[in-house]
């Protein structure tokens, strides 16, 4: 089953932020990308994982080479032909998914954010109709592996996070942070983590966000002062540290903006941490006197050095991933027997759902526009997946345990899988 799984992408180790930001997508963009991918020939399932450190496409099809080719074409169209991607297929792709979810492939090994980001990507792929049997199984298992790694290896203990490195850097430049002002531009998760760390050190927080309501909510939570993004030039005159993480297609702060602010600041030092991808701050800002600019890649060395003390935990985590991969492969082989029944059951449900949907869209719901129709399709897809999850899991478990024949027979009988389906197809038989 996972033989047709392919991962194509780039991360903080293989591509600089300048390249990664060309492929960066927000949640809506990820949904659209998944729809585009599953519409490509040979691609049955797809999921897009886009964080500040990586952009990866997980895709499934019958011919892995064809799927990889389609994904590469898609990525090159978006990011340009010059970008180089890594690629993993089959077992290696599963291993990669396990390592990524366990934070072994992260900039900060052991950081907890990646799991939430993968969960978001899975939810997005499910909504966009990209998540079916194989990806669902691989990702569900990846979550379990991540949980085991965190609880059994202590990989997250004493970790150095981007937030703590940012705070250390700010201290290295300003000393005590008690009377310093930290400006958050945007309200990304990493920026929030950095803000919490800096606030604990006694800094005063200012929040500027495109949505003032969001800025106000965040400000209330952290005892900060909210501002609209249009206040940025004024805020730059007062802040000592700027943590930027806003989702913006172009620079929010240019060299000219900062140069003007520095004149008003009478040369007082200003420290920028730009953890947004695409970046929020023009790189040339770092050339100005008394201005220090760090982006996500710049933090890598400090973070990696800070993580070196957890080599033992990392080694244990790698062993655990290998162990889980081996178990996954064994289960997959054992479950091959249950595969046709599961596929037939899902197809039966999907056929029914599609027929009902088409009838409704041709009748009472024919006034719906393309977006509403797509949303309705996605909802039905999600509903089908959720309804079928318990019987699918039970069938797999029974097959893996070696005693699933009775359950398989019962399923085929209960769901009438050996009878002619509504679409005229005969489900794959298995006894």
């Amino acid at each position: 089953m996972s033989n047709g799984l392919v991962v194509v992408g780039l991360n903080h180790r293989t591509a600089a932020v300048e390249q990664r930001e060309k492929l960066a997508v927000n949640a809506d963009g990820a949904d659209a990308a998944v729809r585009e991918l599953v519409a490509m020939e040979g691609v049955r399932e797809a999921m897009v994982l886009a964080t500040c450190n990586r952009v990866e496409v997980y895709a499934v099809g019958d011919d892995a080479a064809k799927v990889a080719g389609a994904v590469r074409r898609h990525l090159h169209e978006r990011g340009g032909a010059s970008i180089a991607f890594y690629e993993h297929r089959g077992e290696e792709a599963v291993r990669h998914a396990f390592r990524v979810s366990s934070s072994l492939d992260s900039l900060v090994v052991g950081e907890p954010q990646i799991l939430g980001q993968i969960k978001d990507a899975v939810a997005s792929a499910r909504t966009a109709g990209g998540l079916r049997v194989t990806l669902d199984r691989v990702m569900s298992r990846a979550f379990q592996v991540a949980k085991r790694v965190r609880t059994e290896t202590g990989i997250a203990e004493g970790q150095v996070s981007v937030a703590s490195v940012a705070a250390d850097l700010a201290r290295g430049i300003f000393g005590e942070l008690r009377e310093r002002k930290v400006l958050l531009v945007g309200a990304g998760k990493m920026a929030l983590a950095a803000a919490r760390t800096l606030a604990r050190a006694g800094a005063t927080l200012l929040v500027a966000n495109r949505s003032f309501e969001r800025a106000a909510a965040l400000a209330q939570e952290h005892g900060a002062t909210p501002h609209p993004l249009t206040d940025l030039p004024m805020l730059l005159q007062h802040a000592d540290v700027v943590v930027a993480s806003a989702a913006a297609p172009s620079y929010l702060l240019t060299k000219h903006d900062v140069s003007v602010a520095m004149k008003a600041r009478r040369g007082r030092g200003l420290f920028f941490i730009d953890i947004a991808v695409p970046r929020n701050i023009e790189p040339a800002v770092g050339d100005l006197d008394s201005v220090y600019l760090y982006n996500v890649d710049d933090l890598e060395q400090a973070v990696a050095e800070g993580s070196s003390g957890r080599a033992v935990a990392t080694e244990r985590a790698e062993k655990l991933v290998a162990e889980e991969l081996s178990a996954f492969k064994s289960e997959e082989s054992a479950q091959k027997g249950a595969g046709p029944t599961i596929v037939a059951m899902r197809e039966r449900y999907r056929e029914v759902a599609t027929a009902e949907l088409e009838r409704s869209l041709g009748g009472k719901l024919k006034h719906l526009g393309p977006d509403d129709r797509a949303a309705l399709e996605a909802m039905l897809d999600a509903l089908t997946n959720k309804l079928l999850h318990p019987p699918t899991a039970a069938l797999r478990q029974a097959a893996a345990g070696g005693g699933g024949d009775a359950l398989l027979l019962a399923t085929r009988t209960l769901f009438a899988l050996d009878a002619e389906s509504g679409g005229g197809r005969k489900a794959g038989g298995h006894r």
Binding site: V165, I173, K263, G267, G269, S290, Y292, Y294, Q301, A302
Partner: protein
């Protein structure tokens, strides 16, 4: 006997600088204390040596250029010792002050020992004491400015371990440099005024020229440091610019000292 203390002081200045540099390089976490104790040993030996010359030969700090230069090294070392003891990360100053103190100490023995100053009495005391204090403060400012430039390079090069973690924060170094320069400017002003008064007296009594090239250089030192302070207040010169200005000012001060040393200690 005095020469022994001189040798001990010189050796301890070298060792203190080596320990300070080794700590900066990240060799051991126990080195700061060792570096500070070694610098304290150097200061003690240096003080005993100068004290012995004062008591034994009547050559106190105001006796001549040799004694004055030696006193500058001693006061600067004491200043960095106090800074290092009161502010934890300032201990790294030892790496910068140690070599300068050593060079000044050794240089003091290369100059003409004649007490050739035309000044006398209280004016002489005020002139030399204020000049010693000013130059010692500038020596500490030089060490702080050098540390600032090293630390700023670490931040710009994104080297966030080792030296970055051991040197004081940039803002702390910037403020400390400015304070040291300000601390040196006041006595230097007094030193220049007393020097000019002495020159006038000399001109009136012996017909000597009122202004010598050494007076001009001394004023140049004052001007450089005053400009650094003025631009900080008026034009927002901070950080790197303050540090560079301080280095230029200190280099000018060293040229003045070298000028006196090479051409005799007269006005």
């Amino acid at each position: 006997m005095g020469q022994w203390f001189l040798a001990i002081a010189a050796a301890f200045y070298v060792l203190a600088a080596v320990f300070g540099l080794a700590y900066l390089a990240g060799t051991s976490e126990r080195l700061p204390r060792t570096a500070m104790l070694t610098l304290a040993g150097a200061v003690l030996a240096h003080a005993v040596h100068d004290g012995a010359r004062w008591v034994g030969a009547g050559l106190g700090p105001f006796a001549g250029l040799r004694e004055a230069i030696s006193s500058i090294a001693l006061v600067a070392a004491v200043g960095s010792l106090v800074l290092g003891w009161t502010q934890p990360r300032m201990v790294t100053l030892v790496a910068f002050v140690g070599p300068v103190a050593l060079v000044l100490l050794l240089a003091s023995f290369g100059v003409d020992a004649r007490p050739a100053s035309p000044l006398s009495g209280a004016l002489l005391g005020v002139h030399i004491a204020s000049t010693i204090l000013a130059t010692a403060a500038f020596t500490v400012a030089f060490a702080l400015a050098a540390a600032y430039l090293v630390q700023e390079r670490q931040v710009r090069m994104k080297r966030l371990r080792g030296v970055f973690q051991r040197l004081p924060p940039l803002a702390v170094l910037d403020v400390a440099t400015t304070r040291s320069v300000a601390l040196g400017l006041a006595p230097l002003t007094v030193g220049i005024v007393t020097g000019v008064l002495a020159g006038l007296r000399e001109a009136l009594e012996h017909g000597a020229p009122i202004v010598s090239w050494r007076h001009i250089l001394a004023v140049a030192v004052w001007v450089v440091f005053a400009v650094v302070m003025l631009l900080r207040v008026l034009a927002g010169w901070r950080g790197r610019r303050t540090a560079m200005g301080t280095l230029v000012g200190y280099a000018t001060a060293l040229v003045v000292i070298a000028g006196y040393a090479l051409r005799g200690s007269g006005p």
